[in-house]
Symmetry: C2
Subunit: 367 residues, 2 copies
């Protein structure tokens, strides 16, 4: 057999998330509500769909490897320069490259226990050692994070704001202090995948002169293009340029780039989606309350619901909902795993939750 | 600044290929013929375009991370099992993962001098040391390759058949011997990006029990979907499963997967494209001959043309064609760089070559 590197030989063969399609094949039946992966059921802008449909016929051409048009549009949108933006294959792709740039065998990397598993997958994949700090009252804990960075002299830390899977959010001042407290030679990956759902005016302004932070954004959530795989990093020009050392230059799908460009130009659609998400979240929270559960406040496109017991119980609730054709997921790690997570749905999705949640809870309690 | 790994700090910031879009922006003018990157000007199957246009509206959903439908269709197409197929973000993406699995600091890796630069980019990117063997009469040299693998105890070697940039081709028996001569613990990456253009019946049959070879295929060339980024590896199930350790599981665009599935089902379109490519190649070869140049035999969707002088001259010919709105490229390394490379074009593209090549040659000779 081939001589794998010692690192790769030591890694497990894994899929970080089981896709709903795999569950559907196992069940032999499609889900009626797909509200488990924080996708945007409201879809992409109609203008983005039209742009992608048009670009499909042109996909015999490789995409522009420097992502010129999209990069320039994003720079204008954020009031930064094109050299402060790197477009990649979703935030997942960006995270993989970022980890590769900073992490090797035994490099300590700090994150919150129960935060984004795909980041952890990349860290382990490059031989890094995860240092985790617990959530505090269902919020990521900036002070604990910084302490761990300093204690371990970690070159990289991950912090999502708003947070997945707890849906919680820290205001700009907290994030500003977090960055200011980082050591000069450490980098904070501030994952803002859900930033469009945060309270208006609450995000930390972008400062591309700050070398200690790189911010990741995506077209997968509010822009409704998860399957298109377009994310981007915003940061200091030196950091951004370093992606060119390791990235797959032709990696971002041409159709997706055309779609993202059109989606970015349609801020009206984005605003509508955000409003619909807020309404959907409120409806989901109300259903939770009606069933005696506690919805946590959400700054995202999903509601994390405290089921009032332990991880085993929440797991049964998820299983019972899945058995009733409602695709949902839950946080993986204690104490978050006492919760289930329901993504903002269409009215029909929410009706189904309203119908099925009482049954699911009853079955879970009787199990 | 962040603490990059020593390896990444040592790498250049680079783009392996300058895209035609970058040239167009510099020129302030679009190309009239885009026949420089071996894209398929004949486009994808109309059924693939329709499938992608339809999938665009569904791209709010993440793609199936196990690529079930496409993987199963490819397995059926090739008469292998789904566990012998790994779908990835183009062959470029597959190559990056493969290199990562086998290459670390100072690992020797064998390829031909002047072969695919993106493979070399990945090898350098993971700290490997390239060992190159020269082409022999414009063919990759299997014997020299095997000798280098054995001499250096290299765990990985790259061999493209048909070859880019020289368009040459080795028959099945030669490839069989090449694999048989590899050491038991070395892996040959047999890049078959252009295999659909090879003489019919001339490809080595697939044997997934052979652990010493992994074959890479793509929808970028004959299937006309370069911008969609879908490639795949065919190989032993253990090797294929190892990709799960390091791949970006949600990385293959959902629209692209739908397109590839439809493209694969439309073999009539593929056959038509191959016939049109053969006709286009013949026309390009004839134009070359009429201009006193020597077209090399092609088993690909491009013609490599010996301009009868040195690399400087060929470079001038390319520049003169580019100045006349014909996007073409050339091999980078001696002695291949005495040639220019023209991709199979539509009739209008070929007419433009016919018109511009004499002028370009004249200017290049007078420079």
């Amino acid at each position: 057999m081939p001589e794998y590197t010692a690192l790769v030989a030591s890694l497990p063969s894994t899929v970080p998330f089981v896709g709903p399609e795999t569950q559907e094949r196992a069940r032999g039946r499609a889900f009626r509500a797909r509200i488990g992966a924080n996708e945007s059921v409201f879809g992409p802008s109609l203008k983005a769909i039209a742009a992608m449909a048009k670009a499909a016929a042109e996909c015999w051409q490789y995409a522009d490897p420097v992502n010129y048009d999209l990069k320039h549009a994003l720079a204008a949108h954020h009031g930064v320069k094109p050299e402060n933006i790197m477009v990649g294959e979703g935030i997942d792709g960006i995270l993989g490259l970022l980890v590769r740039m900073l992490v090797q065998q035994n490099t300590p990397v700090v994150t919150s226990l129960g935060a984004y598993p795909t980041f952890n997958f990349h860290v382990s994949g490059f031989g890094g050692k995860l240092v985790t700090v617990p959530y505090k009252d269902d919020f990521e804990d900036p002070q604990a994070l910084v302490s761990a960075v300093l204690d371990h002299n970690a070159p990289l830390a991950y912090f999502a704001n708003p947070d997945n899977p707890m849906a919680s959010f820290h205001p700009a001042e907290t994030i500003q202090k977090l960055i200011g407290d980082m050591s000069r030679n450490s980098l904070l990956c501030l994952d803002e995948a859900y930033c469009e759902f945060a309270p208006e005016g609450s995000l930390l302004p972008i400062d591309v002169d700050e070398e200690r932070v790189v911010r990741t954004r995506t077209f997968s959530k509010a822009y409704g293009m998860a399957g298109a795989r377009v994310g981007y990093a915003i940061g200091h020009r030196d950091l951004i340029d370093s992606f060119n050392k390791v990235r797959n230059h032709f990696g971002v799908n041409r159709i997706a780039q055309a779609g993202a460009l059109a989606a970015l130009a349609d801020q009206q659609w984005l605003n509508d989606v955000v409003a619909r998400v807020h309404a959907a979240n409120a409806a989901i929270a109300e259903i939770a309350t009606q069933n005696g559960l506690v919805p946590l406040p959400s700054a995202t496109n999903f509601v994390t619901i405290d089921c009032g017991s332990d991880g085993e119980f929440a797991k049964r609730v998820v299983a019972e909902l899945v058995a009733r054709d409602v695709f949902v997921r839950m946080p993986f790690v204690e104490p978050g795993n006492r919760c289930i997570r329901i993504s903002a749905g269409q009215p029909a999705d929410i009706e189904l939750v309203k119908e099925m949640l009482p049954q699911a809870l009853k079955s879970a309690r009787n199990a």
